[in-house]
Subunit: 417 residues, 2 copies
C-alpha cells in the first residue's frame, strides 16, 4: 500500500516540480471562465454562500457588482446578493486564484499563465496595489474607478507587453527573487522589481501616450511591492493543478481560505475540499489595530505555500519575519526546516542560499502532516473584518491539522483500508 | 596612548557611520576636478606612471584620449603617453573613485554625491555596462562611441532625473539591497533593480523622445546589473573621506588598486599611501580563461570594503560566493565574521538579516589587521591583463598585511613611539 502511494506521489511531485509557468496573455474573466456572466462571481477559498461570507468578502462583492454595472450602488448590490441573484463559485474551480477575498468578475482582466510542461493554465486578477482595494473588501467609488482603470488602461498595455515579448517565464523570476530575500508571499519587493525591469523595455515600446506611460510606471512602482504576487500565485496554481488527479496520491494540491473556512484538496481525492474553520493569524498589527479587528485567515494565496514558497521558504527571507512578528533569523530558518518534515521533496529550481542552496520544501503529504503534527505555515496579510478598512497587519497562520486528518480518513476509505 | 587613539577612532567612525550619501547631480569631470584639462587623466588606485601601468589601464588611457579627441587613433594616443604629455593622477586625490582602470577624463559626466552630514562630495563615472568597455581597458570605436552616448544622451537625462527628484538617498537603496542579497560590490542586481524602480517615473517624465527612452531603458536593463556600483562607490567614498584626517586615528579611509600596486590611506596619516604589490585574485574564470590571463587586482572599488560592504557583507549575499568561487553558505558567513575582527564598529544603518540583523563590520583598524593577521577580503572582478579583452572572471582578493604593518610603523613614528 505504502509503495502504491509513494509511486503515485512520485508522479504528482514530478508534475509539480516540472511545471514551467509562462505568463502568455491577458484576457477578460468571461473568456476563460466557462459559463460566466455578469451575475457570476468567483471568490477565494472553498465554496461559501453569501449569507456566510465574511465582511471583507461581502464588501468585495459589492465592489464587483458596481464595477460590472449590474448594481448602481451598494444597496442594489446587497439586494441582488440577498435575493440570491448572484452565483458564487470558488476561483479554484476554474483554474483561477485570487488573493484575499479573491472576488473576480466577468469583465476583470486576468493573467493567463501556461504550464509549458503539462499544458494546463492558471488565471488571476491583476494586483490593485495598496489602499481601498477590492481584494480587502473596499467598495468605494475609488475602488471601482481603479478597477476600471486596470481594465481599460493597464490590462491592454500589459497584454501588448506580454504578447510582444512572446511570454515571460515566471519560474525564472521566482528563482531569482528567492535569491534576493523574497519568500514571494508577503515579501515580493524583489520579484516585483525584477518584473518591472523585465518588462520595462516592452512597456516603453508599446505605450504611445506619455501620460499613460507615466500613470502605469507610477502605479507599478508606488506602494505596490506585492504586484508580482498574483503572477506568482498563478505559477503555483499551475504546479498544483498539474499534480492534481493522480490516483492514490496523498499530495496536497491546493490550500485556500474564504475568510470563514480554510480548505485543502488532495491529488488522489478528486474535487473534494477538506475544510476547517479559518484560523486566526498570529502576527503584527498596524498602529491602531488589534486581533479583535482581524478577519480570520482569507485568500487563495496559500497556493504559494502549496507550491513550496511563502512560509515554506521563510529561511530565504529573514527580513520578513520581523514584519510578520515571527521572531528573528533563527525562526526564519526553523519555519522552513519544519516544512521539510511534511513535504515529499525539495525543488531544485528554487533554492535557498541560507540553507546552502537546498531546494524549497515542496509537495505537502497529508500523511506526514498527520504523522508529525506539524501544520503548514502560511505567511499572510491580515484583513480587517470590516469591509473597506483593508490590510491591518501581517503574520503567520497555521493550516489546521483537522483537514489533513479528514483527508487521510477519506483516503483510507477510498482505498478500502 | 591607546585611549588617545580610541578616542580619535571614535570620531572618525562616527563620521563614517553618519555619512548620508545623496546623489544630487551630474557634472562633467572638468567642472569638479580642479585644474583638469584634456591631457589630464585620473586613474584607479595609488599613484602610478604611464610606463608602469598594466595592460588594461593603458588600453583605457588610449580609449580616453580618443574619446576626448586629443588623439585620432591608438598610435597618437600611445605617442602622447610615451612622450609624457599626459598628466596622471589618482581619482582618490580628487574626491573621485573609478571601478577597474578608473580612467576618468575631462568630458566624462560624473555622478555628484553629497554627504548631507559632513558636506563633502564624491564623484564617479557612469557605469558603461558589460562588453568592450573602457574600465576593462577596451579602446575600440565602439568603446568610444558608447562613452559619447553616455555623455550626450544618458548623462543629460540622468541629470534631469536627479534634479527633478531633488536628489536620491543612496544609503536607503544600499540598506534595502543588503536585505535583497546584494553585497554591493560584485552583486548589484537588487540595488540596480531598486535604483531603476526609484528613477523610472522621473525618467519617463523627463525624456521627450520615445526612441531615446527606449535606448536608455535598454541600456539600464541589459547586462548591466552592476550599474549601481559606481553610485555605491561614491557613497562609500564620502564616508571614507568624511572619516579622513582625524589626528591620531588608525582607521583605514581608502583601499585602492591600480593594477600593479594596492594602497591604503589611514585617517590620521594624511595623504600618504601605504602600498604593496597588487595581489592575484583567487576566483573563478569564465570559460577559456585561466589565472595566467589575469591582471593583478585593479580598481577603486575596494572603497566598498573600506565602507563595510562588498566582501565585508558577504554573509548577506551567499549567492555571490559561488560566482566568486569562494565556497558555500558557511564561507559567506565566515568572511563577514572574520571582518568583524579587524573593524572597530558595526553599521546599524546596514544590517545583515542572516546574522540576525547585525550591522555590517565597518571601520578597518590597522592595529587590528596587524594584531590578528586577518587581511581585508575584497570581492572583485578579474580583468584580462590584455587591454580590451575585458572581464574574465571574479573572485576574492586579500589586501596585503604589509600595507597595514607599514602604516602602523609610520603611525608609531608620527606618535614618537
Amino acid at each position: 500500500m505504502k509503495q502504491i502511494i509513494d509511486q503515485a506521489n512520485k508522479i504528482a511531485i514530478e508534475r509539480m516540480l516540472n511545471a514551467q509557468a509562462v505568463w502568455v496573455d491577458i484576457k477578460p474573466a468571461h473568456e476563460v471562465v466557462e459559463g460566466m456572466d455578469k451575475y457570476t462571481l468567483l471568490h477565494a477559498g472553498p465554496p461559501i454562500e453569501w449569507s456566510n461570507m465574511s465582511g471583507p468578502m461581502k464588501g468585495a462583492v459589492i465592489a464587483a457588482l458596481k464595477y460590472e454595472g449590474v448594481a448602481k450602488d451598494d444597496k442594489e448590490a446587497l439586494d441582488l446578493a440577498e435575493e440570491g441573484k448572484i452565483k458564487f463559485s470558488p476561483c479554484h474551480h476554474h483554474s483561477a486564484v485570487g488573493p484575499m477575498t479573491g472576488i473576480t468578475s466577468y469583465s476583470m482582466p486576468l493573467y493567463v499563465v501556461e504550464n509549458k510542461d503539462q499544458g494546463n493554465f492558471a488565471y488571476s486578477t491583476i494586483n490593485e496595489g495598496a489602499g481601498d482595494v477590492l481584494r480587502f473588501g473596499a467598495h468605494s467609488d475609488n475602488t471601482v474607478k481603479r478597477l476600471k482603470w486596470i481594465e481599460e488602461v493597464l490590462a491592454p498595455v500589459l497584454k501588448k507587453v506580454v504578447n510582444s515579448m512572446g511570454g515571460i517565464n515566471l519560474n525564472v523570476i521566482t528563482a531569482q527573487a528567492l535569491h534576493m530575500g523574497d519568500e514571494l508571499h508577503m515579501r515580493n519587493g524583489s520579484s516585483t522589481a525584477v518584473f518591472i525591469k523585465t518588462i520595462i523595455n516592452a512597456l516603453v515600446d508599446v505605450v504611445e501616450d506619455k501620460n499613460e506611460l507615466k500613470e502605469i510606471t507610477k502605479f507599478l512602482t508606488t506602494n505596490n511591492d506585492q504586484f508580482f504576487l498574483n503572477l506568482a500565485m498563478c505559477a503555483c496554481k499551475i504546479s498544483g493543478d498539474a499534480a492534481h488527479g493522480v490516483e492514490n496520491s496523498t499530495i496536497v494540491t491546493a490550500m485556500a481560505r474564504n475568510g470563514v473556512n480554510i480548505g485543502i484538496r488532495v491529488s488522489g481525492l478528486g474535487d473534494q475540499w477538506f475544510t476547517a474553520p479559518a484560523a486566526a493569524v498570529e502576527g503584527l498589527y498596524f498602529s491602531g489595530f488589534t486581533a479583535k479587528d482581524a478577519n480570520p485567515d482569507i485568500g487563495d494565496s496559500a497556493i504559494m505555500e502549496t507550491g513550496g514558497v511563502g512560509g515554506f521558504a521563510m529561511a530565504t527571507a529573514p527580513a520578513i519575519v520581523k514584519f510578520l512578528g515571527a521572531g528573528g533569523y533563527q525562526d526564519a530558518i526553523n519555519y522552513t526546516m519544519d516544512m521539510y518534515e511534511i513535504c515529499d521533496t525539495e525543488n531544485s529550481q528554487y533554492t535557498i542560499p541560507n540553507l546552502d542552496f537546498r531546494g524549497t520544501p515542496t509537495g505537502i503529504d497529508i500523511r506526514k502532516v498527520v504523522e508529525t503534527g506539524i501544520a503548514p505555515a502560511i505567511n499572510t496579510a491580515i484583513a480587517s473584518k470590516e469591509p473597506g478598512v483593508g490590510m491591518i497587519g501581517a503574520g503567520v497562520s497555521r493550516a489546521p491539522i483537522k483537514m489533513f486528518e479528514d483527508a487521510l480518513v477519506a483516503f483510507a476509505e477510498k482505498m478500502n483500508l
